[in-house]
């Protein structure tokens, strides 16, 4: 079974620029998550989709972050404009609606804002 695919693997941008990350979940996984992992910390949920609807975006900084999951498959996460404190690894994960055992993470996109 193919895993969760993310691109790009690395990105360096200047503050105030915009950036977008892409995620392709495991086939058949209805639920998709974006997590932010700052160096030395555990992942923090930014947004959760079920199919193409948002389930939880309570910790998404909506003034600068946006995410979409068109057609309930791939997803993109965008930051505009980026701040220095957005430097982190952005992890995408997917799971079946029921069954935490299926919760699978991608390798992440490492963002550095300079």
């Amino acid at each position: 079974e193919a895993g969760v695919a993310q691109s790009p693997r690395y990105k360096i941008i200047e503050k105030r620029q915009s950036v977008a990350f892409w995620c392709n979940p495991i086939s058949g996984h209805a639920t998709l998550y974006w997590y932010q992992q700052i160096l030395g910390q555990g992942p923090k949920l930014l947004i959760q989709f079920q199919n193409n609807g948002v389930v939880d975006d309570s910790q998404l900084p909506k003034d600068r972050f946006s995410a979409e999951r068109l057609k309930g498959v791939d997803s993109t996460l965008k930051i505009q404009p980026a701040k220095l404190e957005d430097s982190a690894v952005y992890l995408c994960a997917s799971s079946l609606v029921e069954g935490l055992e299926s919760y699978t993470f991608g390798s992440g996109t490492r963002l550095t804002v300079v």
């Binding site: 969760v4 639920t31 998550y33 030395g40 910390q41 555990g42 992942p43 923090k44 949920l45 959760q48 389930v55 939880d56 992890l91 994960a93 799971s95 609606v97 935490l100 055992e101 919760y103 699978t104 993470f105 991608g106 390798s107 992440g108 490492r110």
Partner: protein
């Protein structure tokens, strides 16, 4: 106060030793407990998943949950250099859907 606390380490042990990791939590609503392993520049991968208090064993790994003390543990027996990684505990509240709340992770180094 963070909902889930975890000692960041690093924890250095000789090969073959038992690795002991733990997390404490403050919210009694957490009912599902997981341990993830994260290698450098990789995403977390699920190691163990428990629901009830008590012990659960899987090969060299044993997970313990003590809900009365709000304390969970992971033990790794016969540790190998390949076990060197960051170990993250994660928890889920039923009312929060599939949202996971993670500890900060403990870095483990197993020396040959």
């Amino acid at each position: 106060q963070k909902e889930v606390e975890q000692d960041p380490g690093p924890l250095s042990v000789p090969e073959g030793a038992i690795v002991s990791l733990n997390c404490t939590y403050s919210n009694s609503a957490f009912q599902y407990f997981m341990w993830y392993r994260q290698y450098s520049r990789k995403g977390p991968e699920l190691l163990m998943y428990t629901y009830s208090s008590g012990n659960k064993e899987d090969g060299r790994f044993t997970a313990q949950v003590d809900k009365s003390s709000k304390y969970i543990s992971l033990f790794i027996r016969d540790s190998q250099p390949s076990d060197s990684a960051t170990y993250l505990c994660a928890m889920r509240r039923p009312a929060a859907g599939n949202k996971l709340t993670f500890g900060g992770g403990t870095r483990v180094l197993v020396k040959p």
